[in-house]
């Protein structure tokens, strides 16, 4: 299957997200077509000044996607996901906003005419791929691998449609289905501090410390994230003193390990906290 893909500004430079996503997608026969000349999703502007400017930014990427023939856009970043989804909702439900945005787009010869839907790339990987591929790697011994799923604060916003709650179990259910032991913890949707990390590093550190505290209670072997900003912050601040260090991976990296994809194709060496113990544990599993 082919999908239009909106990478967002953090995707390519993240610690192995791009590599592992590509590897997993090719395993699952998913082709991600990067929207040509995409631009900033607008997250930072929304947070700052102008809602309308952020809307125009999103509208431009939407129009580009429409032009390439796709009305469904995938992204792997929670900030992009929320911002784009919000923008898509505003644009489709308010024709005045749509007209205003199209006025701007006209200067580039672009126009947004269709309703755009936004999906996290994870949703596609979990829901739209053939079960037999997954099943052929199933291993009961994986239940010794304790995974703490971390959703971040954006993916389960209550106004979004889709899996949502304060204590989501979407990723857990999927990983449990593969054989992993997904632990229940209290930090699933806490803020990672990304939005304020630059100006308020001390606050961000405190926030990550709470995440680590929630996860460590359940003796997790790894934290799995679904967003480059989350991954960066949680990984980075755990290296500070007084904080428990738990390898923090992208979900695609874990799936790569599950599929036994070559390690060098998963970008695991870019992680700050070494995933070695996890990799070793997974490689030493007795198959049952």
């Amino acid at each position: 299957m082919k999908y239009a893909f909106f990478p967002g500004c953090a995707h390519d430079t993240s610690a192995g997200y791009k590599e592992s996503l590509d590897a997993v997608c090719s395993k699952l026969d998913i082709e991600l077509l990067e929207i040509p000349d995409w631009n900033c999703c607008g997250a930072t502007i929304t947070a700052g000044e102008s809602k309308t400017s952020s809307l125009y930014l999103a509208a431009r990427s939407f129009a580009l996607s429409e032009k390439m023939g796709y009305t469904q856009i995938l992204t792997g970043c929670n900030a992009c996901y929320t911002t784009l989804k919000k923008s898509a909702k505003y644009l489709s439900s308010d024709k005045h906003r749509l007209e205003a945005a199209n006025k701007h787009l006209a200067s580039e010869g672009l126009e947004l005419t269709k309703e755009i839907t936004i999906q996290h790339v994870m949703d596609i990987i979990f829901d739209k791929t053939p079960k037999p591929i997954w099943d052929s790697y199933k291993n009961n011994a994986l239940q010794n691998i304790n995974i703490a799923c971390y959703y971040g604060c954006q993916y389960t916003r209550p106004w979004l449609t889709g899996p949502q709650s304060d204590r989501p179990e979407y990723i857990e259910n999927f990983l449990t289905g593969l054989g992993f032991n997904a632990v229940n913890h209290s930090a699933k949707t806490l803020c990672c501090g990304a939005a304020g990390a630059m100006p308020n590093a001390d606050i961000a550190k405190k926030l990550v410390a709470r995440i680590a505290d929630g996860v460590k209670k359940e003796s997790a072997d790894a934290i799995v994230t679904i967003c480059p900003l989350c991954q960066l912050n949680v990984d980075m601040y755990q290296t500070q003193p007084d904080i428990e260090q738990i390898p923090t991976l992208f979900f695609t990296q874990l799936l790569g390990l599950y599929f036994k994809i070559d390690l060098e194709n998963l970008g695991l060496d870019k992680l700050l906290i070494s995933p070695e113990p996890l990799i070793e544990k997974m490689q030493n599993l007795k198959s049952a």
Partner: protein
């Protein structure tokens, strides 16, 4: 035309500022004056006030008005007021019509001109309509002098006592086993800190003792019909299984009861027994047994053994009672404790969490540790009828034993020298030691059964002969002993011996007949037995040849395992093709390899031979074990009994009778080779059939069985608790393989006492009451009756009071507060129980680990004042939260934080209580709690919960570590109030509370006259308000009943006999059967006492012969004329 010269007065109300100025009432009045027949039109500030009404009365009197229209508020509000005014002036009250220009115009219309215009049209329609009004008259009918009260909380109790003290009969219906409602769970009450029990017990006791109050506890009203003054209710009284009249409340039954379940009265913080009383002071004091559907183990046992019962008895160490329970259905407990394939364990719900209870081993344990001779026999009269049982296998022994227990004379005829049938010849001794079998058969015979061994059909007796000897019924339990052939070449060679004769010989005589290299053909239990016996009787190597894979093998898993452990080789996917002989003796078995093809009828994949894959297994002995069939020829010798295509006896599936009426059959002889327990099950069905047959009640059997089938399969079981610990399944110890393979000693050594009890403890008590009958034995006054059934009671009542109370908000819905996730988060009701002297901790406020909390947070407005849940304020939470704070401070000295949005303490002494609690040092934080989490910022707080909230007074986010959190959950309408509302015709508001007639002026009445509301069913309220309202509701009811009569409705149907064509359509549509047909005139006639005035008849009648008074076609068509 029934009106001559209408003179209409029109009165427009300002309703203060509610109608005017939005509606220009002056303009409306001026306009009204122009309408035909209107002789006066005026406006006034408050038409409902005395001067307003006087205005109407004066005009009627002075100006001779004969019609009145008032344009004001909703007729649901003041129609009675103005009708009364008309009546006062001497005008029939129905010469009045109301135009609703407030709720339907001024309040809902934004534009003033439009509102005025609408008001004018509403007035026009009313004026047109009222011209066609006619005087109506009502009749007085007597009322029932009794009150029905639904719900026995403090509200229902107060209403009941008030009404009963006034001399009226009261039926108080409560669905729980006790009265007192939520208040019975409280410890203290705010603000005075009275002990809740101290103030409510006098009331409960009075209820119990009052001569005019009939208390229907553990009961529900299922139907309510009739009308004001004459209601009829149907009450369903659930069975307590304990007689209310005789139970003394001593509690011995509960002491003996082995079943412990979470106690809902204690909010599941503690446990109670299956027979229970919620609290010691409960009224009525009668205990109650709670039953669910029979447990799955009991259902799946072919013989219907009360598995849960004996497992519980093993748990409590009462092995004799366990054996007694087993012997109710299984005559061979030790045998089945060893060889039963235990379908019960397959269905055991414990396997949902870890593993099934080791039921079979527990049965064996009970059998091995109790005495057969102490099993009580029912005391029955001996009967004269004689029954012949042919065959002493499990089916025959079952039939013999249980018929004997019913008093019949039983003789067994066994063709072998020793009784036991296949149990003796087919099951090897290492699985079933002969001593066990002998002892159990001896016990069966000791009840007075005659045993004739060495006598069988074709061997001394015949069916006809038995009949001649005077046997009234004959049971054929001859089993299936004839081997089935393999149908391959050289099958009869020396060295081929079938498993059945092989096992028989080995079991009875033990000649050590096995040769060196043995091949067993087959995959069933018989094959395993043959293989394992072969190795014991001298074989050096034993192989089992099976045509499918191990997965498809029908043999029990344990048996296959045991065989492998003893060094027996499994050769799978192989079929026998030919016996290779030399000099007539076996030297090998030629086999062919199979592949699995598509599934066959049994669901197993069919083996398909692979061509050219033949090979030879060298051996000198071949034991085919591929099946047995029934030896029917001796039976057929003198009597023609129908056989099936399989050669088994053809019996009726209900009566188990063969084609010869007095001859019954069961066991392998009917089913073909099957398990012991299935033979026992068949035996039981025959016992029942023979008893019915001899009692000449055979026709009852089918009904009985159909009834049982109907009852089965509802699957309402005790829910599996969430926090069940994982417990490893008890394993019996085994003899070492090396040791056992050389002897016939019993391999399985059984469970030791400790592991048996531990495993029995795993039982989840799916059926709740396990029917072990310990309570029956314990009860000195014989009050326990397990056969009790529900009762249906009908009562009459003149008035009904609904007092169905409330339930608390489900705290799980607010994930962020972690209820159900963190053990130290409690709801307020849980805290009430924790703090209550009769509660699970006897009133000590402690955490689940037994420690006293040092820091406690109380969270207000959980589920209240929350747009995502309930928007309303639950009114009681602030006050009870402060009560908690005070109690925690007083009892534990812990630091307490109250997180509130606004403090609501309006009430006598309430604000003072707030002051007092503040002075006691409780921290008050204004801010809704955002989150409760186990994540802490400081390592020293590890293990504590953190309450996250913004203090909106200091604008600071607080993260407060605490040991315990109490969620002050809000109130919601009680479970089932929707059904009660429907039944009574009382509507509920959007939150589910019952609608009162008027929020201010009729707070305890409903739109349905004669039905009143008391307490929280109408909306959240505290105890003082509840009691006040309950007294009010009782007062309304008393006022209604004291008058002695009620007026019938005037607005009911009529049928004009001149117009009625007698088509009976109205009779068909009438939901109240209120229309009769008068055959002498060929017209329908309304029964005025039954008619409710719905008008279904009127709209169904094309001739408009049927109509509703005050809603006639003429009136409505003219009202429309006014609008259009």
């Amino acid at each position: 035309m029934n009106v001559q010269n209408p003179k209409i007065g029109v009165y427009i109300c300002h309703c203060g500022m509610n109608i005017y100025p939005k509606v220009d009432v002056m303009k409306v009045a001026e306009y009204a004056k122009t309408l035909t027949h209107v002789s006066v039109a005026s406006e006034y500030k408050f038409m409902c006030s005395n001067p307003g009404q006087e205005l109407i009365i004066e005009d009627i009197k002075q100006r001779g008005l004969n019609r009145v229209v008032v344009a004001s508020c909703s007729p649901r509000m003041h129609e009675p007021t103005f009708r009364k005014a008309c009546e006062t002036a001497g005008l029939n009250r129905f010469y009045f019509q109301m135009a609703n220009i407030r709720e339907h115009s001024s309040w809902v219309t934004l534009d003033s001109d439009m509102a005025t215009q609408k008001a004018m049209e509403l007035v026009t329609a009313a004026v047109k309509r009222v011209s066609f009004h006619a005087p109506l008259y009502t009749k007085d009918v007597p009322v029932q002098k009794s009150v029905l009260i639904i719900g026995g909380g403090i509200a229902g109790m107060q209403s009941a006592l008030t009404a009963a003290d006034a001399g009226f009969k009261v039926h108080l219906v409560e669905r729980e086993t006790y009265i007192g409602g939520h208040m019975a769970k409280f410890d203290k009450t705010f603000p005075t800190l009275d002990c809740a029990a101290c103030i409510s017990t006098p009331k409960t006791v009075s209820i119990g003792q009052h001569q005019d109050i009939t208390l229907h506890s553990y009961s529900e009203v299922t139907e309510l019909s009739g009308f004001v003054g004459n209601y009829k209710a149907v009450i369903r009284k659930k069975p307590r299984y304990i007689n209310e009249d005789t139970c003394t409340g001593c509690g011995l039954c509960a002491e003996k009861c082995p079943v412990s379940v979470p106690d809902p009265f204690n909010e599941n913080l503690g446990n109670r027994k299956a027979v229970y009383r919620s609290f010691p002071q409960a009224v009525p004091l009668t205990f109650c047994i709670e039953k669910k559907d029979p447990a799955p183990c009991r259902i799946s046992c072919p013989a219907g053994t009360n598995v849960q019962g004996y497992v519980q008895m093993v748990k409590t160490g009462n092995y004799q009672q366990a054996l007694n329970i087993i012997m109710e259905r299984l005559p061979l407990p030790g045998v089945l404790g060893r060889v039963c394939p235990h379908p019960c364990e397959t269905d055991c719900r414990r396997s949902l969490t870890d593993s099934a209870v080791s039921i079979r081993d527990l049965k064996r344990f009970a059998a091995d540790n109790a005495k057969l001779e102490d099993v009580p026999l029912p005391k029955v009269e001996d009967r004269d009828e004689k029954i012949a049982v042919i065959g002493s296998g499990p089916a025959g022994l079952t039939v013999a034993y249980y018929l004997r227990r019913k008093g019949f004379k039983v003789s067994i005829f066994e063709s072998m020298e020793k009784p036991g049938g296949m149990l003796r010849t087919g099951i090897p001794d290492y699985r079933l030691p002969p001593a066990i079998l002998d002892a159990e058969i001896d016990h069966i015979l000791s009840t007075g059964i005659e045993m004739n061994t060495g006598v069988g059909l074709g061997n001394g007796i015949t069916l006809a002969g038995l009949k001649e000897q005077g046997f009234d019924a004959i049971f054929l339990g001859i089993g299936a002993h004839v081997p089935v052939k393999m149908n391959i070449e050289n099958e009869d060679a020396d060295g081929v011996i079938d498993a059945v004769p092989f096992l028989k010989e080995e079991n009875l005589e033990r000649p050590g007949s096995a040769k060196k290299r043995v091949v067993v053909v087959g995959g069933g239990n018989v094959a395993m037995d043959a293989a394992r016996v072969a190795i014991r009787s001298g074989a050096q190597s034993v192989s089992i040849v099976y045509r499918r894979t191990r997965n498809e093998m029908p043999a029990d898993h344990e048996e296959v395992e045991g065989a492998i452990e003893e060094g027996i080789e499994l050769i799978n996917l192989v079929g026998p093709k030919k016996v290779i002989t030399q000099d007539g003796k076996v030297i090998g078995l030629e086999c062919i390899k199979n592949e699995l093809g598509p599934a066959d009828d049994s669901g197993r994949r069919r083996p398909v031979p692979v061509e050219g894959s033949e090979f030879i297994i060298d051996c000198d002995m071949i034991i085919p074990a591929i099946g047995q069939r029934v030896e029917s020829s001796p039976v057929l010798e003198d009597t023609d009994v129908d056989l099936t295509a399989w050669g088994t006896f053809n019996v009726d599936q209900i009566t188990f009778q063969t084609s010869v009426p007095s001859v019954f059959a069961a066991g392998d002889a009917v089913t073909g080779p099957a398990t012991v327990v299935e033979a026992v099950a068949g035996g039981h069905r025959v016992v029942r059939a023979i008893e019915k047959y001899l009692n000449n009640e055979m026709e009852l059997l089918e009904d009985e069985i159909r009834q049982e089938n109907k009852m089965a399969g509802k699957n309402d079981f005790l829910p599996v608790p969430e926090d069940v610990p994982v417990v490893k399944r008890a394993k019996t110890s085994f003899m070492e393989p090396s040791e056992r393979k050389n002897c016939f000693d019993e391999v399985d050594l059984g469970l030791d006492e400790a592991s048996a009890q531990k495993d029995a403890e795993k039982c989840l008590n799916c059926g709740l009451c396990c029917e072990c009958m310990e309570c029956v034995n314990a009860c000195e006054v014989k009050a326990v009756d397990h056969e009790m059934e529900e009762e249906i009671i009908e009562v009459d009542a003149g008035a009904v009071i609904l007092s169905t109370g409330f339930k608390t908000f489900q705290a799980e819905k607010l994930f962020q507060y972690g209820y159900g996730i963190y053990p130290e988060v409690y709801t307020s009701l849980e805290f009430e129980r924790l703090n209550n002297a009769t509660g699970p901790t006897s009133g000590s406020i402690q955490m689940k680990n037994g420690k006293t909390p040092e820091r406690v947070a109380i969270v207000h407005c959980v589920g209240s004042r929350d747009s995502r849940n309930n928007k309303y304020c639950s009114r009681v939470c602030c006050m009870y939260s402060m009560k908690f704070a005070h109690l925690v401070r007083e009892k534990t000295g812990a630091e307490v934080w109250e997180y509130y949005i606004d403090m609501r303490s309006p009430g006598k002494l309430y604000e003072e209580f707030y002051d007092r609690v503040q002075e006691e040092g409780v921290h008050f934080v204004r801010g809704r709690v955002a989150e409760i989490t186990d994540i802490t910022d400081h390592p020293e707080d590890d293990g504590r919960l953190t309450v996250v909230a913004e203090n909106t007074l200091t604008m600071k986010t607080l993260r407060t570590p605490v040991d315990m959190v109490i969620l002050s959950v809000g109130l919601e309408a009680a479970e089932g109030s929707e059904d009660v509302g429907r039944m009574a015709g009382v509507s509920r508001d959007k939150d589910g509370w019952f609608n009162e007639l008027h929020a201010k002026l009729a707070p305890v009445s409903t739109p349905i006259s004669g039905i009143f509301l008391a307490g929280c069913c109408q909306g959240p309220k505290d105890i003082p308000d509840t009691v006040a309202q309950a007294s009010g509701a009782a007062g309304e009811a008393i006022s209604l009943l004291s008058k002695g009569t009620v007026s019938t409705k005037a607005e009911i149907s009529f049928i004009d006999p001149e117009l009625c064509a007698g088509c009976k359509t109205c009779i068909e549509v009438c939901a109240y059967s209120a229309i009769d047909f008068d055959g002498s005139r060929d017209v329908s006639v309304v029964n005025e006492t039954l008619c409710q005035g719905c008008g279904s008849c009127s709209s169904a009648c094309p001739a408009s012969a049927a109509g509703v008074k005050q809603f006639t076609d003429l009136q409505l068509m003219n009202e429309l004329e006014g609008f259009l």
